[in-house]
């Protein structure tokens, strides 16, 4: 599906939009969480959805991974799904980060909470720059510690033509943890995204 690829200009544009969205998100999160947050985006990568499960299976090897999906819809036919991958060793850090004591929240709830906070603040920043706005579906846990996430990722990714892999590292004053975010965009919305990027580029 070569027609789904970005031109170098489009890729550069998207990378910059994502960098800025991350900057906006980190600023908001820092104020909300009352701690310094640094969201770093080393690079975005377009990944063939067919390679995606294999890529992440080897990345996480035998470690337990929880996979959480959140769907988004915007104007101009822009829509997609984000997949967040968490290593379970990080759950305690996430609980501290969100200010949860061991009181009343399950692991699943904490992970869906952090996912919606991280993805919606980031995607809002992206939408803002594109003069768009997104609405969101509630986050869902696609697989948890006892399931093989690569199989699940394979069946999820099958429905999408393009996957944009965004590695995110969250650094906080007192803790740091890694997680991965994957932006999945269906072929049709991908065409729209290219148009939107072209319009955006044309305004300069």
């Amino acid at each position: 599906m070569t027609e789904l690829r970005f031109t170098e200009e489009q890729r550069d544009c998207l990378q910059e939009l994502i960098n800025v969205a991350m900057g906006l998100a980190s600023d908001k999160l820092a104020r909300y969480l009352n701690t310094f947050v640094h969201l770093q985006v080393p690079a975005i990568r377009l990944v063939d959805t067919e390679q995606l499960p294999e890529h992440f299976a080897s990345r996480y090897e035998q470690q337990s991974v929880t996979m959480i999906s959140l769907g988004f819809f915007g104007d101009q036919g822009l829509r997609g799904e984000t997949i967040m991958l968490y290593q379970l060793a990080n759950v305690d850090v996430i609980a501290k980060l969100l200010g949860y004591s061991n009181d009343d929240s399950s692991e699943a709830e904490m992970l869906t909470d952090i996912s919606s906070v991280l993805t919606t603040t980031f995607l809002n920043g992206l939408a803002e720059q594109l003069e768009n706005s997104f609405s969101y579906a509630a986050p869902r846990i696609l697989s948890s510690r006892d399931q093989h996430f690569a199989d699940k990722l394979a069946s999820t990714a099958e429905q999408w033509q393009l996957a944009l892999q965004v590695d995110i590292r969250y650094q906080l004053t007192d803790y740091s943890f890694n997680c991965d975010m994957i932006l999945l965009i269906p072929g049709e919305a991908m065409m729209r995204l290219r148009l939107i990027l072209d319009q955006f580029l044309a305004s300069f």
Partner: protein, 319 residues
């Protein structure tokens, strides 16, 4: 076309709860969905703190969520799968579901008043009781199915497939931690004769009774399974050959008593082959117990025999 008139009747008829709070978490608005189920009137509670009106809501958690929505200006969500409900409301299927309270999906959305900086949070509450009930039923069925998948229909002990799977796991564990592990294979003596004399029902009754007697002798960590017709296996983790022989002899003694069936006393005895793990594959280990079992039969039945390296016993297997 002017459509403003639509908003009020839609909110009233909407099958989703709409609850709007101001930045201080005071109630600003709710629709009929909530009014009727909670039996409250907006005019009575408007301006009151939401936690005072819905006193059993998870306050600390809800505060954190709503503050997050306001601070980040991005939505938050709650699913019945993680938290069954946020505010206690009755639902419309109190008879068919096991729960009294409505299972809820909730979206919390940020809003800003158009001409001021005033901020609001809107909670959309959906009734997910049906999904909740289906999931409860599904989980129950799955649990039953899984149990059925692992057990032998007649005796209730593990079936061969699951038992062998467990043996594989125990071998891995023994190998990894260098712990002892032993295996018993045993067989009801002269089962064919028994069947001929008392019928298959008699044979079945003996198998059932025998499984019960042996299960009662074992530790929680031992694994009993039905290997074939009248053949059973026991996995003994953390047990060396000497310990395994003790257990095997205890089984021989316990099985050797008379069982009552249809007014007849049936005399059943068992022969047992014992092997211990020392690096063999699962098939080799089973084969060694099987050879020992054959030797127990050959030496007169009703006894336990340990496996020994005896090449001549490989010649032929007769029971």
């Amino acid at each position: 076309m002017q459509l403003d008139w639509l908003v009020q009747p839609l909110l009233t008829q909407l099958n989703t709860g709409v609850l709007v709070l101001d930045a201080a978490h005071n109630i600003v608005y709710f629709n009929q969905f909530i009014a009727r189920r909670a039996d409250i009137q907006l005019s009575d509670v408007s301006g009151r703190l939401v936690y005072d009106i819905f006193a059993d809501a998870p306050k600390a958690w809800l505060q954190r969520k709503i503050d997050g929505v306001l601070a980040l200006q991005s939505p938050a969500f709650s699913s019945w799968e993680q938290r069954q409900y946020i505010i206690k409301l009755p639902h419309l299927r109190p008879v068919s579901s096991g729960s009294q309270h409505m299972a809820q999906n909730c979206s919390m959305l940020p809003f800003k008043a158009p001409n001021s900086a005033e901020q609001f949070v809107c909670l959309l509450i959906e009734d997910a009781t049906d999904a909740y009930v289906y999931q409860q039923q599904l989980q129950h069925s799955m649990a039953q199915l899984e149990l059925a998948n692992r057990t032998d229909g007649l005796t209730g002990v593990f079936n061969r497939r699951h038992w062998q799977h467990e043996l594989g796991q125990e071998i891995q564990r023994a190998k990894r931690y260098q712990h002892p592990l032993s295996l018993l294979l045993f067989d009801l003596d002269k089962f064919k004769q028994l069947n001929d004399q008392y019928g298959h029902q008699g044979g079945d009754a003996v198998l059932i009774e025998l499984s019960g007697i042996i299960a009662a002798l074992l530790r929680d960590t031992d694994v009993l399974g039905r290997y074939g017709g009248e053949e059973f296996g026991v996995i003994l983790p953390e047990t060396d050959m000497a310990g395994a022989l003790l257990v095997a002899n205890r089984i021989c003694a316990a099985a050797g008593h008379q069982m009552l069936f249809n007014g007849h006393y049936i005399n059943a005895t068992v022969s047992i082959g014992v092997s211990s793990f020392s690096g063999q594959t699962i098939d080799e280990l089973i084969q060694q117990s099987d050879i020992a079992l054959y030797n127990a039969k050959r030496q007169g039945r009703n006894q336990a025999v340990a496996w020994q390296q005896q090449p001549e016993t490989y010649l032929k297997k007769v029971k």
